[in-house]
Symmetry: C2
Subunit: 243 residues, 2 copies
């Protein structure tokens, strides 16, 4: 697993061209079965999912939630537009259910690495973004790779955020070990592993968060097999015990 | 990052001796700054944290929870002994707060890879287990490494389980990016990254779950720095919004 050195992506720039250039400059070729993990931030920037806060008029609900949380009302307005449900509100904290199903802070809206007074939204359809990138890499380099679009989310019961998968293509999000036998023949009954989240978490270790951000990571040696959608990683509302 | 081939650990066997033997047989030497991720199962087996279900007498509360969940009453009894609070109960599901603070299914009690009619409890003090292993590896090989004891936990809002850190030594559990500036000079305000959990998640990708279990993984290139305790990864009860 290694981070690919890349230049800063220009907003609106073609993502696959930028990725391809970085990969070619790195001198290391992709192989079949590699997984390319991309920070959602560059996907969003390429797709123009950037909003100038000065263009946002907060609604009454946004103004009220801004008072409760101490957050910028314009940011809160964007969070509400991206979300289908407000889950928890505390000073300094706004947890919502994003329209894609993810329960996370600030509806996936992020102010870091976007430019002053700018906010970055999640890609419109991160699975489709991953699919386009995978297909473009196949056309350009002739390889079948998996693509994972990564964000960092907090957790309900643990401190700190970890990398999670918000979009994918060419890799199965979940590995189902149920029904397999362990070393002693005991049949495993509850072992479904969220491998796409683990891939995102692993890559996030190398991505960094501040001015040395490295938004492209290649994972080799964990073969990308299967396919699916990041939505499979979302626990459906009716099975969610904690919202 | 690679999985170290190892023979089956015998219950009660010295952990550091078993780890050292596996590392020596692998022909690859540990280096300063490597992180060794160990599945909690082998730590528990080495420390004798195995209980024969036939020796367990379920309490009245265990019998009742067993009826509600459909689980073996003897297993439920062990879960209750390991836990300080029952958090959620549903058919097929028993989520508790473990005495070490972790909110997880079945109080960390596990029936897989333990032998028939056996259950494995978490180590008594997984941070201390990690510390002893780190110190033993230093004495034996003269290297300073980080040690992470890994388990897999489900998540409140996402499907599937991922590797998490339940014990550590020689590595800081959290990386605090707050106050650092991003690419555009914006000061990051909420970026605390649970790197020990990400290390555990990365390693879990290589560990496997069933009969090909590989409980030892070396992470190289992500320097183990700092120190701390796995308890720092637990959100304190009073700040927990979802229990």
């Amino acid at each position: 697993m290694w981070a690919v050195r890349s230049r800063l992506l220009q907003p609106g720039e073609d993502l696959s061209g930028w990725v391809s250039e970085a990969l070619e400059s790195s001198g290391r070729r992709l192989r079949n079965g590699d997984v390319l993990v991309v920070a959602h931030k560059v996907v969003s920037l390429a797709e123009g999912r950037v909003v100038a806060l000065s263009d946002v008029n907060p609604s009454e609900q946004a103004l009220q939630l801004a008072r409760q949380t101490g957050k910028d009302p314009r940011l809160v307005e964007l969070v509400l537009r991206e979300s289908v449900e407000v889950v928890r509100v505390r000073p300094g904290l706004l947890i919502t259910r994003h329209r894609l199903g993810f329960v996370c802070a600030n509806g996936g809206v992020d102010r870091s690495n976007a430019g002053p007074e700018q906010a970055v939204l999640l890609p419109e359809d991160p699975d489709a973004s991953a699919r386009r990138l995978r297909d473009a890499l196949h056309r350009r380099f002739g390889v079948e790779v998996g693509v994972v679009v990564a964000d960092t989310h907090g957790r309900a019961h643990r401190e700190g955020a970890v990398g999670v998968c918000v979009g994918l293509a060419g890799v199965a999000p979940l590995a189902d070990h149920r029904g397999r036998r362990d070393l002693y023949g005991y049949v495993l009954t509850s072992s479904v592993e969220a491998v796409a989240d683990e891939l995102a978490a692993a890559a996030t270790l190398l991505m960094g968060q501040a001015d040395e951000a490295r938004p492209l990571v290649v994972v080799r040696g964990w073969p990308a097999v299967g396919d699916g959608q990041a939505r499979q990683l979302v626990r459906p509302r009716e099975r969610d015990l904690f919202s």
